[in-house]
Symmetry: C2
Subunit: 108 residues, 2 copies
């Protein structure tokens, strides 16, 4: 699994509520750090640190624009997460159906 590790890291990163908030804002539109921090209840350095985690997880990337760093969604990480979930979704659904059938069969 090539993207397996990336998906794991992405899931771990999105486990934090603040990082989810940052991520959702970046889904709407790419933004610099200051703008993100202005709309969140945490300080700007906190946002910087969260962005670092999101970047290490392959969920966002940055492009320098002068003194600003514009952060935007990285399709790679999101895609890896989607693939991971897709695989587990189908397999899990099959197992669930098998289990439900077996249970129904054992009931008179």
């Amino acid at each position: 699994m090539t993207h397996g590790n990336l998906a794991i890291k992405a899931l771990g990163a999105l486990g934090d509520p603040t990082r989810r908030a940052i991520f959702e804002r970046l889904v709407e539109r790419p933004s610099p750090v200051g703008e993100l921090a202005a709309g969140l209840p945490v300080s700007r350095p906190a946002v910087s640190q969260h962005l670092r985690v999101l970047k290490d997880s392959g969920l966002v990337t940055e492009t320098a624009a002068g003194a600003r760093r514009i952060y935007h969604i990285d399709p790679r990480g999101v895609g890896a997460m989607r693939d991971w979930l897709d695989a587990h979704w189908t397999v899990g659904l099959d197992a669930f159906k098998a289990f439900a059938d077996a249970e129904a069969g054992s009931l008179p």
Copy 2:
């Protein structure tokens, strides 16, 4: 978004490595608590607490079988997560493309 809140909770739940491990085993086959704990490096009560979180997130459900509680994947929660990720996947990709285009346009 009807399942939005559920998807958010599911993401938060899967942020923990041990919960992911439990979830992945339940994808393979439904299991009672003791069996899960036996294959994990944590105690049985720890597994119980994790299962509670997973249940509150709509990712697993339980069915009583005598003294045992068989835990299995809950397709609702997994589906909600998939939908959420799908939406963000498409929207985020559009925003990314728009951004990339605008950036390319501003370069001579």
